[in-house]
């Protein structure tokens, strides 16, 4: 999928991905010529279809974890998977907050926070870390 600014005949550049926490996704693209921004909005089914491919829109920032797709999409798999990111821990409060995220996107949200912490060498995810990640990554509602 590519986005072309018809007026400028220029390829629109990926800007950011947002996951509001309701299963939908917004991906923002910007025209390098005129600056116009366009958001691709996907419904939960389309979001799941994309995530089912095991790819991340905008590119990966960390390598995929083993069985990442299975772990994040399978209901009933360990809530505390043995395959989690590095040594990142979740505090009790953070786990509780994660439970407020709809179950069908919880695995994906957990992975995003895990990647955020792993990239920055953060050993434990707390509600404060979640707030910071939400602000920096545009994860409203998570």
């Amino acid at each position: 999928m590519k986005f072309l600014c018809v007026d400028c005949d220029a390829v629109m550049a990926y800007v950011e991905r947002r996951l509001p926490g309701d299963g939908t996704m917004a991906v923002v693209y910007s025209c390098p010529g005129c600056g116009r921004e366009t958001a691709l909005l996907t419904n939960p089914m389309e979001t799941r279809l994309v995530s089912g491919l095991g790819i991340e829109v905008g590119g990966r920032t960390v390598p995929p974890e083993p069985l990442e797709l299975v772990r994040s999409a399978l209901e009933g798999a360990d809530e505390e998977p043995k395959l989690r990111h590095g040594q990142v821990r979740w505090s009790g409060d953070a786990k509780e907050r994660l439970l407020a995220v709809p179950s069908f996107v919880r695995g994906m949200v957990k992975r995003i926070y895990g990647e955020y912490a792993a990239e920055r060498g953060i050993p434990e995810i707390t509600p404060e870390i979640m707030d910071r990640a939400r602000t920096e990554l545009g994860l409203e509602g998570m």
């Binding site: 390829v11 790819i55 829109v57």
Partner: protein
Amino acid sequence: MSESREAPAPRRIRTYHEVADPAAESIVEQVVDQGRRLRERLDGVGRVVAVASGKGGVGKSAISANLAAALAARGSAVGALDADLNGPSLARMLGAEGRLSRGAGGVTPARGSAGVKVASMDLLVPEDAPLRWSGPEEHGFIWQSVLETGALREFLSDVEWGRLDVLVLDLPPGTDKLARLFDLMGAPDLVLLVTTPSEAARHVVAKSARFLAEAGAERVGLVANMTSWSCPHCGVEEQLFPSDAARRLARESGLEVWAEIPFDPRIPAETDEGLPLVLSDPERPAARALTALAERLADA
């Protein structure tokens, strides 16, 4: 007098292939990387053997379990992947228990009978829990097959199979499952198509045989299961089915019958206990036929 006016020419919009887009290419790169990781993992595997049919209930999993155990018992390094995500049974049949765990280079497989390395969805979900993917409740059919193909890809590429002589794949029913496997990894080194002497099985398995021929699979063998049974009291052997559809399938498809395995109620009884018949009672006719199949495979 009316003045004719030409419609303005439609403006030119470049097509997908005319546009270079780094963001879209990153998606392609991720897909290419998935394929690379899968190939690298299977580089350490001598031969991938897919046990398939197209038809359900013909004994694919029991044959997979016994084949893997027989190969391991004769000294081969063997892995067994239960590709039947929705009805996994291979782990139980091979006596593999516990949960899959994280190792240094991926997921560490469980160990089953005769040391067979086993990966199965059964080792990830709680017992008796159906396979259920999280996602929007409506239109699940649209995205679930994508997820299942992705799950199979991950089982192939993310499990630390190590160096194996043989990796046995136990495929679920459905010719489409063969197609998905081919999409992911190309043709396996050998496909064993399991059938029974029934016309119903022949009718379905013939479709798989045709798919394999059209897909260019070079090595395909037929395994005729439940071909006969022996009276436990007098020892008289009789055909289990009135027809000889398995041999007819072989004639019509041009495929060679690699094994004819007699029906033996001990096979399900033993595999229910996690001990394949080739190990628990190797002298029974069915066990001998399965062991002979393993030997032929090893020597081929």
